[in-house]
Symmetry: C2
Subunit: 193 residues, 2 copies
């Protein structure tokens, strides 16, 4: 998606340790017009599929998923939680995910009543690197007996391999920008063609 | 807002300890069509004001704020973060907030470059009870020299007093449903008229 690649080139910064900061428009400050265009792009890619629910994970995926949902007929968005809360009770599906950006393990939790065997789920997240967060969401869907119809990602760090591994397993992963290489010293960012 | 009150009556549940669960449509599963109507309601209420930015706090405020932003000309949404992350670096405004639902203190952090002296800010959150989270966001705005133009809340627990205290201090607080009383034994929920 050209618009997203241009924003990454213009406003993204590469930091040591494979960190690509895009907090100017994606995951701290949010450009909701861009999110809307991202939703339209995913809707075009997944047009042949029945999507009954969008599943994402707190926190950065929520805004993107909620804005994108309009392009999928306003289906419900469920966001998996990363910590126990007194707002979570009753039966839950839980798994564990290692967060690269927070550098620790998190529980990932969804209430059973919001993820069901009849659901055809689109997973949405801001980043895909090694794929650990997505594995957690896929685990939750498998526990519920829900079908993962596709995976919509804003920025995939292609050189970390998580996306290609998921594609190899048959998942339909639509990443709107795939970074093939990036260099913290020069700031150069190359996208996959 | 009648639509929101009806949803709370129909799908909300009252739990002991002043907990109102609305996770079927507001803060775990998200009804984005309802969020859109909420955004329209806030836009009508705050029509006379110049809003250059929406500030919310992770995680439950993000989806609401991002969907609502369309009704404010697509202004940027910034979400304050509740924990340090390697995606946060450089100068930050920080404060501390006690979370009722998580029952512990959190740092609340926003990067200085995304909150500025020229900003006219609408604060948005899903819940207002004692007002501690909003105090944190107001602190951040004061640190930045940004003007708080108004506060848009989905559900205010009026009996906990946080909203009326803020109104007494001159803040324009628009809560779309104000719960005046609720009863965990009977499940009764009364709204302010």
């Amino acid at each position: 998606m050209q618009e997203l690649e241009e924003r990454i080139q213009r406003e993204g910064t590469v930091k040591p340790g494979n960190v690509l900061k895009v907090d100017a428009f994606l995951n701290h400050q949010c450009d909701v017009t861009l999110f809307d265009h991202m939703g339209a792009a995913w809707a075009e890619h997944f047009a042949g599929r029945t999507i009954t629910k969008i599943l994402t994970i707190e926190a950065s995926g929520i805004g993107i998923a909620c804005v994108a949902a309009r392009h999928f007929g306003g289906v419900p968005v469920v966001f998996a939680k990363k910590a126990q809360s007194i707002n979570l009770d009753g039966d839950q599906y839980t798994t564990t995910v290692y967060s690269f950006t927070k550098q620790k393990e998190f529980p990932v939790i969804v209430a059973k009543k919001y993820l069901n065997a009849g659901d055809h789920v689109l997973l949405i997240d801001d980043f895909l690197a090694n794929g650990k967060a997505l594995r957690g969401l896929i685990d939750l869907c498998e526990s519920a007996g829900a079908v993962v119809e596709g995976i919509g990602i804003a920025v995939e760090k292609g050189f970390q391999g998580g996306g290609d591994k998921l594609r190899g397993e048959g998942y339909d992963v639509d990443s709107l920008a795939i970074v093939e290489s990036m260099d913290a010293e020069t700031g150069d960012i190359e996208f996959r063609r």
